[in-house]
């Protein structure tokens, strides 16, 4: 483990940027049509509930990341295996997001550049930042969150002034009842709110362990609010139909802005914002995998960062044959077969086992 500490604001920024990460890019819950914003709220509620379970877990083991907790609870062999599985999981998700961003840059701005080059650059930058350490990542987070908030407020103002926002598009609410909302909410629950599992690796770096629950919850609620507002605006501008069909709804929306022939074609700036939040998302997944592996193998993280970065790059190339397959996997397969067990299943089992053991231990001594 590194000897570094993040303060509340840095941690908060990382959580917010992380949650916003790829969700802004591909849009969330658009399958629920105009009720997308509801699915986000439901997903957020589920995420908060899950996070409370996490917090019960790390309250029992305050100095340990999830890989360490697994060893403590399930014993060395099983725990170690589980730790390695988590490392692979984090790397895989990181690779997926890297591919998302490669595709995004390729489709939106750099259509002449092979997206392998784009992704290589991206991962090299991330390697550099992680080499410098988590403190640097935290400080970058602080600065970029501020920049992000300013730019997005500016963007929202532009959208308002260009008269594109039509709140009538949000109606009728719950046209087909709660069923589609809840169905889609499973997606929004695992992605991005369930992904808070990553921060189970990072929490030992928070300078005041007591504020963990506070920072986690406030970060989640804040980013949930931003996502919800974004979703409302997207639907109000594009209409539920286009928002659902568009690959990158946010870009499509920003591209519509045109004020006095001066502020137009702003999608490039939106891409920049997306790249920056994406950078944080990949970096955090990568970092979680990195310290997980460093902890398991007792090798210093700076010796692992380069090979692991290259592995993630390689993974992102081989995981899908084309964009369609990649997005389909992301929506249909990964949430159920990967996210659910790793985000919900294993932590809950860990919590249950540790509670059980604790009770047994207490009974034994008593």
């Amino acid at each position: 483990m590194e000897k570094a500490k993040l303060d509340f604001l840095q941690f908060f920024s990382l959580i917010v940027l992380f949650e916003l990460g790829s969700t802004l890019v591909i849009g969330m819950g658009t399958a629920a049509k105009q009720d997308a914003w509801l699915t986000i709220l439901v997903g957020l509620a589920g995420g908060v509930l899950l996070f409370l379970f996490y917090s019960a877990l790390f309250r029992r083991y305050p100095d340990l990341p999830i890989t360490g907790i697994a060893q403590k609870v399930l014993g060395k062999p099983v725990g170690t295996l589980l730790g390695y599985l988590y490392v692979v999981y984090f790397m895989y998700v990181g690779a997926r997001i890297l591919l998302d961003f490669g595709i995004l840059s390729f489709l939106s701005t750099l259509d002449q550049t092979p997206f392998l080059v784009i992704m290589t650059l991206m991962i090299l930058v991330i390697i550099y930042v992680l080499y410098l350490g988590v403190e640097v990542l935290g400080r970058l987070g602080e600065m970029f969150l501020l920049a992000y908030l300013l730019v997005s407020a500016f963007g929202a103002l532009l959208l308002l002034f260009s008269g594109l926002v039509d709140l009538a598009q949000l109606r009728p609410v719950l046209e087909e009842g709660w069923t589609p909302v809840l169905k889609t909410a499973l997606q929004t629950f695992t992605f991005p709110f369930g992904e808070m599992i990553v921060f189970m690796m990072l929490f030992p770096y928070l300078n005041r362990p007591k504020s963990r629950v506070k920072v986690g919850l406030s970060g989640m609620v804040f980013s949930g609010a931003i996502l919800c507002v974004t979703s409302i605006i997207t639907t109000a501008v594009l209409g539920a139909d286009i928002a659902d069909r568009s690959t990158f709804p946010l870009l499509t929306m920003i591209g519509k802005v045109n004020i006095a022939e001066i502020f137009q074609n702003l999608d490039v700036i939106a891409v920049l914002i997306l790249i920056i939040v994406g950078f944080f998302k990949i970096a955090i997944f990568f970092y979680a995998a990195l310290i997980g592996l460093a902890d398991l193998t007792k090798v210093h993280k700076n010796r692992l960062v380069y090979p692991m970065g290259m592995t993630i790059l390689f993974l992102s190339i081989i995981i899908a044959d084309d964009f369609v397959e990649h997005f389909k996997e992301g929506l249909a397969i990964v949430p159920i077969y990967l996210h659910l067990p790793f985000q919900t299943g294993i932590p809950l089992i860990l919590l249950a086992v540790s509670l059980f053991r604790h009770r047994k231990g207490a009974a034994g001594t008593g």
Binding site: V125, V129, R139, E142, I262, Q264, I275
Partner: protein, 536 residues
């Protein structure tokens, strides 16, 4: 000087510090015989022609021979003449007859010299060093000690107006090449007994005085200790400018960004000392160093604190903007014209394309040529004698601005871009940081040309990551922005009015935080006397 002496002695006991020694590893004691001593001095200094040896004697029962040794030009001639020679030769004429050597020496030391600074030297290294420092050394025949008198003087430049940090409102004095003048300029502003000064000699050959200044009780002791450690580590033959020190003690050896602040203004030094920083003054240069230096400091001028705070805050915004402009303008132009045509409003795009029609180079090459030409012009303008320099800039402006465009080598838009870059970089209050932007600009142009805005964004992340990893003497370089310190925002981008700048920067001084009493906001007295009347 005193702390250094003490330190030298202590180190010598350990037998490893050789810093204070001029020519010899081991310092030998003086001879008893005057002539031998004088010969040795002449020999050591290679019979240099500026060495003055004045021998004289007290006649009496036993003749006592004396010699005064100094280097012409390093001493204050009036002082040597009036207060040393005169008083020595005229001293105690009456009872010279009976005086013994012992009492003679003591008397000379105690009463015979009408100068302030007098000390005894016993070894050769100390003796030679005092002579070379501009002291006058008195030797007595048959005695193995010498008296060195502080007679430093000689020609030096008067205090001038600062040339690199000009202000409209504020004091007009700047440092000179003499360290004593410089320390005095600071002391005149801070008349506190807590303003402490420590001096050490660095440079085996040049023996340059390097002084540390700080205000005890405000400064963080850890930083002082750290600075001292780093200065003591330096084993170099010469220190000719504070730049030598800067590169030897900075935190990150390869960074493009300056982590020491450089100034030639005594009021800036005073202000920084009062914030809890440490100043390093070097003899022989008007440029003093300040540590720890944070990035935001390079965007501030001393005038920010003297003029109206609204305009100060505004100007700081302008400076940050100008820095970004000077860093990014060419690369953004290249990226926009090469990759992101859609970003440019249509009418403007048409004009641009029309301009670029017939230009033989891609935007990147065009920009590179122009930027390099500008750098050459700038360098030529500095190197040439002043009247010629102006001619060069006029020629350059006409050649670059007019002829190149007419000839169809570059587009007018590119000339504008280069001009914006240049003006923006001139507006930087700190030369150090302006250089950084000048160099980084080319890197940004390269990635802008290769990967468009995407590349620029990634490089920005890299630069920011590098900046967040930097520290200046233990203080994070980007603070108080990252890590974010709320209470220091009053004097970072904004400059709040003086009555609200109650505390010092938090990460720098760490103790004695309060600058002033609370509630000092000036306000007109509310409705005088009436209230009292009503009460009755």
């Amino acid at each position: 000087m005193r702390p250094f002496e003490r330190q030298k002695r202590r180190k010598k006991k350990k037998g490893k510090d050789q810093r204070g020694q001029v020519f010899h590893e081991e310092s030998s004691p003086l001879f008893h015989d005057l002539q031998k001593n004088l010969n040795k001095i002449r020999e050591e200094l290679g019979h240099s022609t500026d060495l003055v040896v004045r021998e004289f004697e007290w006649d009496g029962e036993r003749k006592i021979r004396f010699a005064a040794v100094y280097i012409d030009g390093l001493v204050d001639n009036n002082m040597v003449g009036d207060f040393i020679m005169k008083s020595l030769m005229l001293e105690s004429r009456d009872d010279r007859q009976t005086i013994s050597r012992k009492t003679a020496f003591d008397r000379v030391q105690e009463n015979g010299l009408a100068v302030g600074e007098v000390k005894i030297t016993r070894d050769w290294n100390g003796l030679i060093l005092s002579i070379l420092c501009g002291e006058t050394v008195i030797l007595m025949d048959g005695w193995d000690e010498a008296i060195s008198c502080g007679t430093k003087g000689g020609e030096k430049r008067p205090i001038d107006e600062p040339t690199s940090q000009v202000v409209i409102r504020g004091p007009r004095d700047s440092f000179t090449e003499s360290i004593r003048t410089n320390t005095a300029l600071v002391r005149r502003r801070v008349k506190s007994p807590n303003l402490w000064l420590e001096t050490m000699r660095i440079g085996k050959v040049t023996q340059t005085d390097v002084s540390l200044m700080y205000i005890k009780g405000i400064v963080d002791e850890k930083i002082v200790r750290e600075v001292k450690n780093r200065l003591e580590r330096i084993q170099i033959d010469s220190i000719l400018e504070s730049g030598y020190i800067e590169e030897m003690i900075r935190d990150s050896a390869f960074s493009l960004f300056p982590t020491l602040y450089m100034t030639e203004r005594p009021d800036v030094i005073a202000g920084n000392l009062l914030e809890g920083r440490v100043a390093i003054l070097v003899d022989g240069t008007p440029f003093a160093l300040v540590v720890p230096a944070l990035l935001n400091q390079f965007f501030q001028t001393t005038e920010d604190y003297y003029q109206n705070y609204w305009i100060s805050g505004f100007l700081r915004f302008v400076r940050y903007g100008a820095f970004l402009l000077s860093l990014l303008t060419p690369s953004l132009y290249i990226a926009a014209t090469t990759f992101h045509h859609a970003m440019i409003p249509t009418t403007f795009l048409i004009t641009l394309v029309a301009q670029r029609e017939g230009i033989p180079f891609p935007a990147f090459v065009e920009a590179l040529i122009m930027e390099l030409m500008f750098e050459i012009l700038r360098e030529a303008g500095i190197r040439l004698p002043r009247p010629v320099g102006q001619a060069v800039s006029i020629v350059g402006a006409i050649v670059l601005g007019e002829a190149a465009v007419r000839a169809g080598l570059v587009s007018p838009a590119m000339v504008i871009v280069v001009a914006i870059t240049a003006i923006a970089s001139f507006s930087a209050p700190s030369y150090n940081l302006a250089i950084t932007a000048r160099l980084l600009r080319f890197l940004f142009m390269l990635v802008g040309a290769s990967f468009g805005l995407f590349g620029i964004a990634l490089l920005l992340i890299v630069v920011l990551a590098h900046l967040s990893s930097l520290r200046s003497f233990g203080v994070p370089y980007l603070s108080p922005l990252a890590p974010f310190v709320f209470s220091d925002q009053k004097d970072t981008v904004f400059r709040f009015p003086w009555w609200s700048l109650i505390t010092r920067p938090r990460l720098i001084s760490q103790k004695n935080m309060t600058r002033m009493e609370k509630d000092l906001r000036p306000s007109p007295p509310d409705k005088p006397t009436e209230g009292e009347g009503n009460e009755k």
